[in-house]
Structures are given as structure tokens and as C-alpha cells.
């Protein structure tokens, strides 16, 4: 069971996400046709918001891992950095892609270059892409880890900026759906499906990151064995 823990958690996450999608499409109440240009497209937010939530968790993991490697030279920290970057890329792309679909339906354009939250979130996803692709292009070593951890630490500045962006500079992106005052309130059924989505995505990235950390650990073991064999 312990060996299959990551796979089990990942599977539970998938099932939860599939259930959320099913409920979002079939069970969630429709929004007022006067409130949105494209009311049916609003259902995408049951995917978009939990994916964004999971992305923030992944980026947080990336930051903690980067700090642990950079300041403590912790191998666990480096594994967290790798896992956070990979999970951040996956959930970041899910968020950006679903947001663009909704933007096309609601605003008529998939992207607004002047909207702070869209752009800072896009940048976080690009940062995760840079960290994942860049790491794969380099041999593992202190130089690689130091460089990418530095970017991980600097990139994290974008997380609070992105989080508060719709509160400070709401241009086009809708305001927060939770904790955003009266204008952002949800009815009970909507909130329940959204909560299920948030839990499912959290479980999904937990499984994803556990699996990624195990793979990185195996890579590190393989490398140390190869180095020992080089010396024979």
C-alpha cells in the first residue's frame, strides 16, 4: 500500500475531478442570463478555480523546496522544487487554458495583455515551464540546482501579486469568488461543487507531487550508483 500511495492518491484525485466535472455540467445551477454574456460558459469555473487553487499550492511547494535547497542544501528540498515545478506547470496550464476558453466566450478575446492577474498567472506558468524544461536540459549538480532554485525563489514574488491582483487592479478578470465580499458570494450548491473541485485538485496534485518526488529520488539513487561504478 505504501509503495502505491502516490498512485492511489492520484487516482482518487482523478475520480474527484471527474465527479466535479460531471456535477458542474449536469447538476450545478445555471447563472442569470443577465449577469454574463455567455452564461453557460460560466460552468468552466468549476474547473478553472480549483485548478488555480491547486497551482498556488504547487507554487508554494516550489518556493519552500527552492528555499530548502538554496539555504539548507536539502535533497528533500530539491525534490520538492522539482515536484512543485511539475505540478505547477500541469495545473497552471489547466488554469490558463480554461481561462482562455472562458475569456473567448465571455469577453470575445482569449487574453488581455493589460490585465494584471492574467499576466502574472501566465508568467507563473511560464516560470514553471522554464524550470521543468531547463532542468531536463542540464546535468544534475549544484550549479543546476542553485540556478533553478534562485529562479524559484524570485518567481514566488508573483504568487502574492497574482493573489491580490483582482483586489487591487480589477480590470477584466472577475473578482474573488470566496472572501471577496457580497459581489463574489456563491449559493450553497455552487459552493459545494466548487469545494469538491478544490479538494479533488488538491488530492490530485498531492499524488502528482508524491510521485514526482519518488521519481527524483530514484534518479538520485541511480546517479550515485553510476558514480560509484565509475570509480571501480
Amino acid at each position: 500500500m505504501t509503495k502505491r500511495l502516490a498512485e492511489t492518491i492520484l487516482l482518487l484525485g482523478f475520480i474527484g475531478i471527474a465527479t466535479t466535472l460531471g456535477l458542474a455540467l449536469l447538476k450545478a445551477p445555471s447563472v442569470s442570463i443577465n449577469a454574463f454574456e455567455s452564461p453557460e460558459a460560466q460552468r468552466i469555473f468549476y474547473w478553472h478555480v480549483p485548478a488555480a487553487w491547486a497551482a498556488f499550492i504547487a507554487f508554494g511547494f516550489l518556493f519552500v523546496g527552492s528555499a530548502l535547497w538554496f539555504f539548507k542544501r536539502s535533497n528533500l528540498g530539491w525534490r520538492m522544487h522539482v515536484a512543485g515545478a511539475e505540478a505547477g506547470l500541469a495545473t497552471g496550464l489547466m488554469t490558463v487554458w480554461s481561462g482562455m476558453v472562458w475569456g473567448s466566450a465571455e469577453w470575445g478575446v482569449p487574453w488581455d495583455w493589460t490585465d494584471v492577474r492574467l499576466n502574472t498567472f501566465g508568467l507563473l506558468t511560464f516560470l514553471a515551464m522554464f524550470l521543468v524544461l531547463g532542468r531536463q536540459s542540464q546535468p544534475d549538480g549544484v550549479e543546476t540546482r542553485d540556478t533553478f532554485s534562485t529562479f524559484g525563489l524570485f518567481g514566488f514574488v508573483l504568487v502574492p501579486v497574482t493573489y491580490v491582483a483582482t483586489r487591487l487592479w480589477q480590470i477584466r478578470h472577475p473578482g474573488p469568488v470566496i472572501g471577496g465580499g457580497d459581489s463574489g458570494s456563491l449559493n450553497g450548491e455552487m459552493a459545494l461543487i466548487l469545494l469538491l473541485g478544490a479538494i479533488s485538485f488538491t488530492v490530485f496534485i498531492a499524488g502528482h507531487m508524491l510521485m514526482s518526488m519518488r521519481i527524483t529520488s530514484l534518479e538520485q539513487r541511480l546517479e550515485s550508483i553510476q558514480e560509484a561504478m565509475d570509480k571501480v
Partner: protein, 410 residues
């Protein structure tokens, strides 16, 4: 009592996945020549690069002339007395002329000496104006070696000279001359750290490194050499700025890379956008007029890939007196592109916007260059996908365009 010129205090250095040095404590004093001649993979180059302040430290501190130049927390300072450096990878750019690289090394040391005699001595006088790319491997090594030893002849103050395989690929005559020069450098009070497997240096080294400390060299034979009277004059031009301008003029790299991106953007805009439909009061006009300058800056500084050749970037970084750049060319290019874009769509040119265009190209280039330099420590810096991060510049560009529109600069 001899003055300590270089000290590594409790230094631990990691390279790749292995710890090369752990708690290393060594001191190099004036008039000492320490030979690092251990087998391959024992950290000779690592020690030299660490002494030059090029490698981050896991632990410990490095001092030059009693001044801290690098510690484990990342504190770094430019040494007040410049040192000589020959890197294993030569450290010179192929597009530089022979005399330019050697004069850079001398100027970085804070004075100008006549290099003719040295070029003559090492049979490089006839190659003085040649590009380094046109030299043979051995001749290029001589240039790198001269750039490492000549700072030791500038002025009366003893210096640290860090020489990594300075005689690799050199013929026997050149090696004999080099031994004579090293002896004179030693007599002048310089402190030399020399990594080499050549047996030529066994007799002139005062100490050898045994992996843990500097040991007295039993094979050292005190040889008396003549000490030449070398006059040094002061020289004020900043070598990094001069090199950036010279390399740009010679290779036209900024025009060929940034310029092409800018002109292509301008060409596409002229082909696709109807000039009569442009209203200069709206945001699209400002964005349109600045697009070519922005695209030119996004290419980054062509000096960075050029300096990756033969480890030249490390050579410049070690001296901590600036790294050659293309900012002046970016400023001119961005201004020109903005003026041409305006003329392509409008009959009038807004000069404030032309200036903003120049600054936009230079600033964008500077940010991309910073990202490129931040990844220069990687084993494969050119494979690091740094351009994925350039979208970070789009939001500031959008805000600039908004500001230009609101300010009625058009």
C-alpha cells in the same frame, strides 16, 4: 616577513554532485609559486577558479591582499588590486584582436605597459592585429597566457597570478621563455598559483599542493634571473565598455540580431496594418510605434553568447570590472526603429517617443541579458530555455503603452 596575498579560509566547494574541497585552508605569500600538478580530477582548476572568486562557496572565505572578495553567504567584492588570470578555456573571444585581449588584461590591472616586446618574445608580433579566431590553438594559448602573466609586470605592487595550464600546447622554446618570466614574476614579489602537468615548472615552484596544503618543493632550485625595468603608464578607458563597442562595430552583431528582429517586425506591421486607419490618439498607435523597438530588445544582448566562446564570460566576471555590453547600440537601434515606424504610418515624428523607443530597446535588452547571465553557471547555459521567461516583459510594455497614450506624446 612575507605578506599573504591570497588566502582560502575553511573553503568547501561543490561541483556537480561532488564535494571537491572540504575545509581547505591555504595561504599564498608574496614571492611564492605554488604548483598544482596532481592527477586529473583532483580539483586544480576548481582551486584556481575559486581563488578568482568564480565559484560559489559552500563554506569559508577568500581573501585577496587581506580583503574579503567572496564568502559562503554570497558577499562578493571587487579586489582593489587586480590579479592576472589564465583560464583553462583561454577566456578570449575569437572576434577580438590579439593585442586587444592582452591590452585588456593590462588595463584591468590599472596601467598600460608596452606589449611589443612580449609579442616579439613569444613570436606573436606578426599576429598582433589578427583576430584570435584566426590563430592556431597554441598561439591562442600564448595570448591567454600573456593575459595572465602581464598584470604581474604592471606597477610595483605585487599581485596574485592564477594560471591554469598556461603552457598547454606551447612549443619548447615558449615554455622555456615562460619559465624565465615566471622566475622574474616571483622575484618581483608576485604570488603565483600555477596548475600544470608540464615538468618544466618543477624546478621553479617554491611549493607544491598535496591535496590538503602547500608543501615546500624539494626540487626547487633558486635561480637568479634578470629583472627588467618596465615602465607603466596610467590608462583610463574602461576595458569592458571599449570591448563591447569594438566587438559590436566589428561583428555588427546587434544590428544583425536585434536589428533584424526589429526591422522584420516593422516590415510585418507595414504589410498588415492600414496606415490610414491609425488614429494617433488611441492606444493602438503607441503600441504600434513601439513594437519594433520592443521586438529588437527581446532578442537580448548578443555580447552574452559571444562571450560564452572559450570561457571569456568567466574571465570578465572574475575581474569584476564590468562585462562588455551593447547598450549604446541598443539605444541607437531602438530610437531609429521607433522613428522609422512612425514615419511608416504617420508623417510626423514624436521625438520624445523616439527617445522612449531607444530606452525601451536598451531596458528590454538589459533584462533579457540579466536572465541570460543568471543562467551562465549552468553546464549548458544555451540549452536553458531562458526565452520562455521573456513574456515577463509584456505587461510592463502594455503599461508603458498605456502611459504614452495617456500622456499625449503623439
Amino acid at each position: 616577513m612575507s605578506e599573504v596575498l591570497l588566502s582560502l579560509n575553511g573553503v568547501s566547494i561543490r561541483r556537480g554532485s561532488s564535494l571537491v574541497f572540504k575545509d581547505l585552508n591555504v595561504e599564498l605569500k608574496t614571492g611564492q609559486l605554488v604548483l598544482l600538478n596532481d592527477r586529473n580530477g583532483t580539483g586544480k582548476s576548481t582551486m584556481l577558479e575559486a581563488a578568482a572568486g568564480l565559484l560559489p562557496l559552500e563554506k569559508g572565505e577568500i581573501f585577496h591582499h587581506g580583503e574579503l572578495i567572496l564568502d559562503a553567504s554570497g558577499r562578493s567584492k571587487r579586489p582593489s588590486t587586480a590579479f592576472g588570470l589564465t583560464l583553462q578555456s583561454d577566456g578570449c573571444v575569437g572576434s577580438q584582436r590579439v593585442e586587444e585581449h592582452i591590452l585588456n588584461a593590462v588595463d584591468l590591472a590599472g596601467g598600460r605597459i608596452d606589449i611589443d616586446a612580449w609579442l616579439e618574445r613569444y613570436n606573436l608580433a606578426h599576429r598582433r592585429h589578427d583576430l584570435i579566431a584566426h590563430l592556431s590553438g597554441g598561439q591562442r594559448r600564448k595570448v591567454a597566457m600573456l593575459a595572465g602573466i602581464l598584470p604581474g609586470f604592471v606597477g610595483d605592487k605585487p599581485r596574485i597570478l592564477l594560471l591554469d595550464e598556461p603552457a598547454a600546447g606551447l612549443d619548447e622554446t615558449s615554455r622555456t621563455l615562460l619559465v624565465e618570466d615566471l622566475l622574474e614574476l616571483k622575484q618581483r614579489g608576485n604570488a603565483l598559483l600555477l596548475a600544470s602537468h608540464q615538468t618544466d615548472f618543477s624546478n621553479c615552484a617554491t611549493h607544491v599542493f598535496n591535496g590538503l596544503e602547500f608543501m615546500q618543493n624539494d626540487a626547487n632550485v633558486e635561480m637568479s634571473g634578470t629583472q627588467r625595468d618596465i615602465k607603466a603608464t596610467t590608462h583610463r578607458t574602461k576595458p569592458s565598455f571599449r570591448t563591447g563597442v569594438l566587438l559590436n562595430q566589428r561583428t555588427l552583431s546587434t544590428l544583425a540580431s536585434n536589428g533584424i528582429a526589429g526591422f522584420l517586425t516593422l516590415g510585418i506591421l507595414l504589410a498588415l496594418v492600414d496606415a490610414s486607419a491609425i488614429d494617433s490618439s488611441v492606444i493602438q498607435a503607441s503600441g504600434l510605434f513601439l513594437s519594433a523597438a520592443f521586438a529588437a530588445g527581446l532578442v537580448g544582448d548578443t555580447m552574452v553568447p559571444m562571450l560564452h566562446e572559450h570561457g571569456a564570460l568567466d574571465w570578465w566576471k572574475a575581474h569584476r570590472q564590468g562585462i562588455p555590453h551593447s547598450y549604446i547600440h541598443a539605444l541607437v537601434l531602438g530610437s531609429t526603429l521607433t522613428a522609422l515606424t512612425q514615419l511608416g504610418f504617420d508623417e510626423q515624428v514624436s521625438w520624445p517617443l523616439v527617445a522612449i523607443g531607444g530606452l525601451l530597446t536598451a531596458t528590454t535588452m538589459a533584462i533579457v541579458r540579466t536572465i541570460d547571465l543568471a543562467t551562465s553557471r549552468l553546464a549548458r547555459p544555451r540549452a536553458a530555455f531562458t526565452r520562455i521567461l521573456t513574456p515577463v516583459l509584456i505587461l510592463p510594455f502594455a503599461l508603458l503603452v498605456q502611459w504614452v497614450t495617456d500622456s499625449n506624446l503623439l
